[in-house]
């Protein structure tokens, strides 16, 4: 086990893991952002201007 943690390159899967995690996060929050109601979005966006 130590050998695999320290020495082995694991290069085969690392790019896929990085891409997989990133894609999962992006897709999740893109869906979330698109699903946001317009009124709710407009309200949130105007909060700094709500003096």
């Amino acid at each position: 086990m130590f050998r695999s943690v320290i020495y082995e390159t694991w290069l085969d899967w690392v790019p896929y893991v990085a891409f997989g995690i990133t894609a999962a996060v992006f897709i999740t929050f893109v869906i979330r952002a698109i699903a946001l109601k317009k009124e709710s979005m407009d309200h949130m966006a105007r909060l700094p201007l709500d003096d």
């Binding site: 086990m1 130590f2 050998r3 943690v5 320290i6 020495y7 082995e8 390159t9 694991w10 290069l11 899967w13 690392v14 790019p15 893991v17 990085a18 891409f19 997989g20 995690i21 990133t22 996060v25 992006f26 999740t28 929050f29 893109v30 979330r32 952002a33 698109i34 699903a35 946001l36 709710s40 979005m41 407009d42 309200h43 949130m44 966006a45 105007r46 909060l47 700094p48 201007l49 003096d51």
Partner: protein, 794 residues
Amino acid sequence: MNTLSTQKQLITFDDKVVRQFMWASIIWGIVGMLVGVLIASQLNFHQLNVTPWLSFGRLRPLHTNAVIFAFVGNMMFAGIYYSTQRLCKARMASDLLSKIHFWGWQAIILSAAITLPLGFTRGQEYAELIWPINIAVALIWVVFAVNFFWTLAKRNEPSLYVALWFYIATIITVAMLYIDNHLSIPTSWTHSYTLFSGVQNALVQWWYGHNAVAFFLTTPILGIMYYFLPKAVERPVYSYRLSIVHFWSLVFIYIWAGPHHLLNTSLPKWLQMLGMFFSLMLWAPSWGGMLNGLLTLRGAWDKLRTDPVVKFFIAGVTFYGMSTFEGPLLSIRAVNALSHYSDWTIGHVHAGALGWNGMMAAGMFYWLTPRLYGTKLHSVPMANFHFWISIFGILLYVASMWVSGIMQGLMLNSTNAAGTALTYPNFIETLTAIRPMMGFRIIGGSMYLVGMGLMLYNLVVTARSGKAVNESREVNVIQRGSVDNMGVKTTFLGDPVTYFFGGLFLFMGWIFLPKGADITALFCALGFIFLAVKKFAASHHSWSQWYERLLENWLPFSLLTFIAVALGGLIQIIPTVMVNRAKNMEDRIQQVYTPLELTGRDIYVSEGCYNCHSQMIRTMLPDVLRYGDYSRMGESIYDHPFQWGSKRTGPDLAREGGKYPHSWHYNHMMDPRSTSVGSNMPTFSHLFTEKFDQKTLPKKIAAMVQLGVPYPPMTDVEIKEDAIKQGISIVETLKADKLVASPDTKIVALIAYLQKLGKYDTPEVEEKLKNAPGGPKLIPGPGNPDKQRPAESE
């Protein structure tokens, strides 16, 4: 859902603390940049290292800490205190905590400004401050966090605006990183040894170091951008949808990118690859954020011509885009082979610090001051002049560092066609080549500093023309219980979280479980994803509702943010920290330092030698040709702290031991130009008269033993005797070369340390390989200081 009652309340914001942080930021910023100009000049004119406490090695940490924690830190707090009160429609929860935060932070900065020039340091970049100050930083940060979250809890606005999300991420992540990276065992009031060593120390340090950039210099400023830019252009942010994607993808991905500071080193390759790939992925959220900022100006581009505030903001956001394009580019291993240890990195960080942080700070201060003092800006033309001199200053600085870095990188990495010899074997040759560029940097930095001075003058006159005002506003009081009502069960046991973390857990099983079980875990993860998609399709309304409620519940939101940032760090760090022990090494093991060598090492750290010299020969042919066999993981396993460095103004020292006689080091420290013509290294003549600290030596050895360094049992007297005995032996050797030194002086200890660098115990396996027929051949090549370098090493 109507969460507001009809009850109204008049609140007065605490703007005094905003003013205090703003002035502190400007003043400390000028101090930090002044030190920056001085150390840039010292690199060209070594004579400017006039005293030990004004030498480059001690002042460079002061410059970086002042700019990061004093200039940007105070600026960030000013912005956070101002915007949080407005976005929450509530005064800060506790005036006392605000005061403790402000004065405590200034006391910390002052302590740093005193201790760093005195040579009290932990020897890790941006984490140099000694342990009592570390504790003070942690405590003051907690005070800030309590005040901030308490204000969120008593807010009169149900929704948490995106700027607040960025502040939450900042507070949580900086606390986590700072505490982990500063875990130490004290040996005196001014000295400690970090808990981690060698590669694990490197990994934790750059997890912290990189994310100090991410979560101290970026996320809070993004929060400030999302609040102040819409205010300045009087229109909402371009796309609130994009800001959601920007926030979550940034906090999830940023935390994984730390290992890109350790590319081509002895860090395990899988970590290097993770660091590189996640850095590349950062392009997307960073540019999403930049475009969101720039496009907020839609329909109001004319303000760019007339309003200096908008000019500064837009330039700041543009520099954010440039820096976040350049960062991932430098994280590509092949590019990093050229750029790392060179001025290119210095140019990159200054594009971020001066361009992104500095311009955003200026924009915010020009916007804030008239409002905080109920008046108008004293001089718009002066602010415009500040803008232009800053822009030209930054461009001159960054461009000269690009040229310098690329030129020196190319020279250092250049070999003959066969790849058997270096084109420029003398390091000084490459340093001489970049000197003009280092000169341009001084001019660029000075221009920026002049701009800062003008801003201080302009804002002081503005403030004096008005009167400090605290804004009052009538707000609708929120119905308590209508928000912040999401329980643990709803937060963590709802479908979205269960499916997300269940899938992630199984996915990790695929990575870490033994063969057979890993495939099972992968199939289970895929099955889980399928179920999640099915469930989402069936009840996406409840998923949406869960998320919308999350935006009105600061505690669950903060906890989920913490989990998002903690995950990446844990997955990268835990395996390395767990297994980085001598008994698990299958390669070379570093020899333990003698008491005198350990003392010498502490002096090396204290003088800040790591600011210019690395101790890491990368797995690259030019590095191996120049410095010797590439560094192995086990060769720094007892180094608390690791000294791999991040910049080579001088050559790498990983295999310095035995390369030169004691007399060479003696003369080199007395007058570097006597041994290396053209060197810009300061003289270290004070080391010849100052005695090393014998009193705390037993405590230091005891701390090392506690950290797992295998010292033999020794009494206090034996430890001191051993140090003096080795000192006498060095002095005797020096005497033969007609050089005089006392065995208890710092120079003797430093020589002992330098002569130990690169000494390791060779495991039987390697010995056998060397002697076996067909085993690695030795190359006694020209310019190769390590004659034992095996041919296969590159």
